[in-house]
């Protein structure tokens, strides 16, 4: 148990180190100069362009040797300083991300958890049950093969453009100011439903299929046949199968985090939702590399934390590790 957690932590530390290094290296070793891009966007006079180049190079710390830049990068990172946005100069990147992150999390966390629980339950019910299987399976495959942005587009078109039941742009009515008021909460909920549904449905399909296939494997395992031979009720056998099948599903949850996150980013773009996804799009369009870098780091940290939570959940749920902790294998 302790070595398991230690190993995981070592992996995550290494991952963080590699990610920070990649994040630092990409803009510096890629063709194209962010400072030049910034200045050409300003369309400044030739003379002032030269002065500006010097100014920005200094401002972004690009005028020292590469190894020093790397150390400075880490030093700034430790202090939570991700640099200054080019798009909204001189606002710090951290500010912009902190503003956007709650919206993304409000979509992601409920979507991940609810689709995982609902998908697993429905998938387990469908396994080896003809009628349910024949409906859940095709539906699940269609959903899990659907690109997030397309489902978002279809939902927005059906519920927004055609029937006009739900709003499809933004996170709350423009007449309101964000705050802890009932009006704002209600408005927020209405704008939240469709992006949430896009994320939920794609995930739901994947989990339902995964669980359905897992249960079939488990029902063919020796212990299931043995229980059957003993005359155990089917419900009991299925319950054992479910508990065994849940473990690989939890491992799958850790693996799926990156994909769901990508889904959230593009879903936000479709719904113009003011989260990290829309921020990524703005950063790309405005060639705001520092913002993009900052977002990359925050995503890495978020995924690492989520991975660790899943690891802990795995240890808590797997009875074998629990027994191991009590000291008798």
């Amino acid at each position: 148990m302790r070595t398991y957690v230690a190993r995981k932590l070592l992996t995550y530390a290494l991952t963080f180190f590699v990610a920070v290094t990649i994040d630092w290296a990409i803009p510096r070793f890629m063709p194209g100069d962010p400072v030049q891009g910034l200045i050409s966007r300003m369309q400044a006079q030739p003379g002032s362009a030269h002065a500006l180049t010097g100014y920005y190079t200094k401002a972004f710390g690009l005028d020292v040797p590469a190894w020093k830049q790397y150390l400075n990068f880490w030093a700034a990172l430790v202090h939570g300083d991700l640099g200054v946005s080019v798009w909204q100069y001189p606002r710090p990147v951290t500010d912009l991300i902190v503003e956007a992150a709650p919206y993304t999390l409000a979509l992601l966390i409920p979507a991940i958890l609810l689709s995982f629980f609902a998908g697993n339950k429905v998938g387990a019910m469908a396994a080896r049950r003809k009628v349910l299987d024949n409906t859940v399976l095709p539906l699940g495959y269609v959903l899990t093969a659907t690109p997030y942005m397309w489902l978002a587009l279809v939902l927005a078109y059906v519920f927004g453009s055609v029937t006009r039941v739900l709003p499809i742009s933004g996170a709350y009515s423009y007449s309101l100011q964000p705050g802890w008021t009932l009006d704002f909460a209600l408005s927020f909920m209405r704008y939240w439903i469709l992006p949430f549904a896009s994320l939920f449905l794609v995930g739901f399909g994947g989990w339902a299929i995964g669980m359905r296939n897992m249960i079939i494997y488990e029902l063919e395992a020796d212990y299931a046949h043995y229980l059957e031979a003993l005359g155990a009720p089917r419900r009991l056998i299925r319950r054992y199968a479910y508990r065994n099948a849940l473990l690989p599903q939890i491992t799958g949850l850790a693996l799926a985090l990156g994909a769901v996150l990508a889904g959230a980013l593009v879903t936000e773009v479709v719904f113009n939702y003011p989260g990290v996804g829309s921020l990524v799009l703005t950063a790309i369009q405005n060639r705001d590399y520092f913002l993009l870098q900052g977002i990359f780091l925050c995503i890495i940290v978020g995924v690492l934390i989520a991975n660790f939570i899943v690891d802990i959940a795995y240890v808590l749920i797997d009875p074998r590790t629990r027994i191991g902790m009590q000291g008798h294998q």
Binding site: D23, P31, T146, P147, L153, I209, N213, G258
Partner: protein
Amino acid sequence: MTTAPVGRVRHELIYVARHNTKLMIGAGFVLAMLVLALVGPFLTSQAPLAFGGDLQQAPSSAHWFGTTTNGQDVFSQFVYGLRASFIVGTLGGGLAALIGMLVGFVAGYRGGIIDEILTMLTNVVLVIPTLAVLITIAAYVTTRGFVTEAIFIGATSWPWAARAVRAQTFSLVSREFVDVARLSGRRSWKIIATEIAPNMSSYLLMMFILLFGGAILIGATLDFIGLGPSNAISLGLMMNNAVLWSALLLGTWWWFIPPGLGIVAIVGGLYVMNVGLDEVFNPRLREM
């Protein structure tokens, strides 16, 4: 066992495969899209990026899938986009399968410190969210093509395949026939190629199918946020353009419905095919 049953087993596999509805339906969808991608460009007179005179037309006999706000032919874009998806899927999925097999075989066959290092590397790449890296890299590359995109995708989406291959290799390495092959003094890579890989060929095939579908989805996502290839069309780019030109508000559904449907048909077809293949190779899973 004599050699006769091998032939019979292969025969039986083909029989089971042809009678597996999931495999046939899935393969049918994928093949239909492939044929459309190959033949489609000959059925349309307008180039995918050319601007015609008909603006924002609903589907008709002149424009089967309608036209965009700028007068581009949606059917033409769709069939060329399908081509792009198959290219990205084949190259990206193929590269990911290659790297995954290389890392998995070496780690599983060698074991020891090499395995420790490769497993650590795999786990690190596994945790880093692929799309975040791809976005950052793609944003810096000014001229992008499908091949670069596929290479980026392949280079980042191999870890789970490597893990799967490694686990399978581990279970095969301790078998007698591998020991015999080792005693005969053959080179390691030859043993992997002739003794280990063939014994998990069904597994490798299914792995490639999943990587192929995954690469198509990642490619579409990248294209959708505007990091797709420049001066070309793809299914993701079509959706990107539809959103940029507010197809939702204008109600031009024919602009964004076909590209997504195309992706669902290919990727969904691949996934269903995979379950079918699983049942063909693993008799325990077949419906009773």
